[in-house]
């Protein structure tokens, strides 16, 4: 009964990790291709570690962020299902006190 939510949780973690990898690739590509410095572009100018100046347009999160959010929602849904389906061990008692803990 709990295999499906656990598989869902694993899928959510996998999707988040894939999203992080895609995002890291996109960020690396973004930072590796600075724009030419222009006094009329209205963009900030940054100094790279090697001392050269470069400018960047606004970063647009691509499919990486979408994958991360989708994986997060999937993880939340699986956590809720696991909480609903969770069963502990029975304890002694009578009436409503004889709950499963």
């Amino acid at each position: 009964m709990r295999h499906a939510p656990l598989a869902m949780l694993g899928a959510g973690v996998a999707v988040v990790l894939i999203g992080c990898a895609v995002l890291a690739f996109a960020v690396n590509d973004y930072l590796g291709n600075p724009l030419a410095v222009s006094s009329t572009a209205g963009l900030r100018v940054f100094r790279s570690p090697d001392g050269s100046l470069g400018s960047y347009d606004f970063f647009r999160p691509g499919p990486g962020v979408t994958l991360i959010t989708a994986g997060g929602v999937l993880m939340f849904a699986s956590l809720f299902l696991l909480a609903v389906l969770w069963r502990g061990k029975a304890v002694s008692g009578r009436g409503w006190r004889s709950r499963i803990r």
Binding site: R44, F59, R60, I68, F76
Partner: protein, 153 residues
């Protein structure tokens, strides 16, 4: 097969004395409600006449009431209680921080392009989903507590 002896035709026989409906003898299942711990045990057959009082006592189950499931010790509920405020506050604070970094009106060079553009953009994209997921976790865990709440004896 329904019993139709001397029933007042103006009213449903099911609510009149002496009505016996054989269909109701079949066990009824409440499949979905069992998962919520509302005591959705299948309703068994109606009690049959027994030969003696001792035999009747012997047939009584140890726990006649449906067993409710407490949320005490449920690790997943604790996880939901943790991620709900963390996601809500993290999303809100992240949104405000990203807005202040992106739109502070300054075009002087910041610490780096990564801190000035990349991090705020990612936080701004993930923030609303974090808030939404945190709210959903909060509503869900409160719903679970409400469904499984039992009044004190």
């Amino acid at each position: 097969m329904s019993d139709s002896r001397n029933f007042d035709p103006r009213f449903d026989p099911a609510f009149q004395r002496g009505f016996v409906d054989d269909d109701s003898r079949a066990p009824q299942r409440h499949g979905g409600i069992e998962a919520l711990g509302l005591g959705g045990e299948p309703i068994g057959l109606p009690p049959q006449p027994v030969e003696s009082r001792e035999a009747a006592v012997a047939e009584v189950p140890a726990h006649p009431e449906p067993v409710a499931v407490s949320l005490e010790g449920n690790p997943w509920v604790k996880v939901l209680w943790v991620i709900a405020p963390v996601f809500i506050l993290g999303g809100l604070i992240g949104q405000a921080w990203a807005q202040s970094l992106l739109f502070n009106g300054s075009f002087t060079s910041g610490p780096s392009a990564f801190e000035s553009y990349v991090v705020p953009s990612v936080v701004q994209a993930v923030g609303p989903w974090m808030v939404l997921t945190g709210l959903a976790a909060l509503v869900g865990v409160v719903f679970l507590h409400a469904v499984r709440w039992r009044a004190a004896e």
